[in-house]
Symmetry: C2
Subunit: 221 residues, 2 copies
């Protein structure tokens, strides 16, 4: 049986999956001093992803140190990584990760990066190889399926990439980690969604003091 | 101890609390035939509120007939009505309800309607009296507190009224019933929220096959 195509992504209660800009993530102290929005965007990002950074499995995968929580959120993070046989992501997410991930990138499986840039596969220690796909979302998914075998394929992000797969009817399962924060502005996860073609069925909902994970199966309508 | 000020409102997964228009609710068959958007908006409304219309307590309160579900969602609806000692709502919500509610309006407690219209209190059988408040949200809340005693005050809707109280720092508890549907367009619940002043803490999350109720306490930040 082929694996499922799934999304697992964070969202603020008011529907944003990222701040207005992710520049804060790469900014120097000088840049932050000149533009206080950079700090604000970083603070928003950490409020959105704070539950994730607190988890032991994530800290180990990202080489952030020893420790972290080991409750139900940690189980969810571990299961999410372990079920994944291949990832697909957009170029902007890759560009940010290229700076933020450790040398041993956290995926340990092939990653297909949607881009116009031509680049040879980039192999990292630990089993992550980044493949740069220039011919569209269907071709990237074909390659990811081939690589994943019976394991699942994660559409990792960002929101444009998630929406492209969702609107093309290619996503089987959608898991949204709703953080207890309001952004007011930023990048809306579902901006441009083709709502007339997508039906959702609740699969399960799991919550902790930090976050609620809402999981749906996705169907045509 | 005075009661809490709470919001309990439905939202689509992509953040809408109502369709682009509620005209569908009052449209005649002729109007529906001329403008197919009316049917679409009604269908969206029912997808958002479908879980609620399925509950026994709600069906009884709205005089929709005998029957309905009696599980955890029904308990939530009953508890929401029973904790409420007074309601506050916007004029548009009242106008729709004036046509849709039975003569024995479903609240059975005082309702304060924010409006510029001057109108004498309107008493309905069963204990619901609508009071029309012309001098702003604080004054409406004062009156509601007085009426509610130790019971809670519900900011019933629509989203503009909810946001006015939220942005003024007057809401203690926010409960969002997330329906498994994407709207793509409509009235955004949190449009214009002053995110810089509002912090949320998860209180609990309860879900069924129909809906997930996310409840937060609201704090200044």
């Amino acid at each position: 049986m082929p694996g499922k195509v799934f999304v697992s992504i964070g969202m603020s209660l008011d529907g944003f999956s990222a701040p207005e800009s992710m520049e804060g993530l790469l900014a120097t102290p000088e840049q932050r001093e000149q533009d206080p929005r950079l700090d604000h965007w970083m603070a928003q990002w950490m409020e959105l992803q704070g539950w994730l950074f607190a988890q032991r499995f994530f800290q180990e995968r990202l080489h952030l140190g020893e420790g972290g929580e080991e409750g139900s959120d940690n189980d969810i993070v571990r299961e999410t990584f372990e079920r994944t046989g291949a990832n697909i992501m957009g170029k902007r997410m890759f560009d940010l990760g290229e700076h933020a991930w450790p040398e041993e990138a956290p995926f340990h499986v092939p990653v297909y990066v949607l881009t116009h840039e031509r680049r040879s596969p980039w192999e990292r220690p630990g089993g992550t190889t980044f493949h740069f796909v220039n011919d569209g979302i269907h071709h990237a998914l074909d390659q990811a399926r081939e690589a994943a075998g019976e394991r699942d394929i994660r559409i990792s992000g960002g929101s444009e990439t998630v929406l492209a797969y969702l609107n093309a009817g290619l996503v089987d399962e959608l898991s949204i980690s709703v953080a207890p924060v309001l952004f007011g502005a930023g990048t809306r996860l579902f901006e441009g969604v083709d709502a007339s073609r997508i039906a959702l069925k609740p699969l399960h909902s799991k919550s902790s003091a930090r976050v609620t994970h809402l999981t749906y199966t996705v169907h045509p309508r």
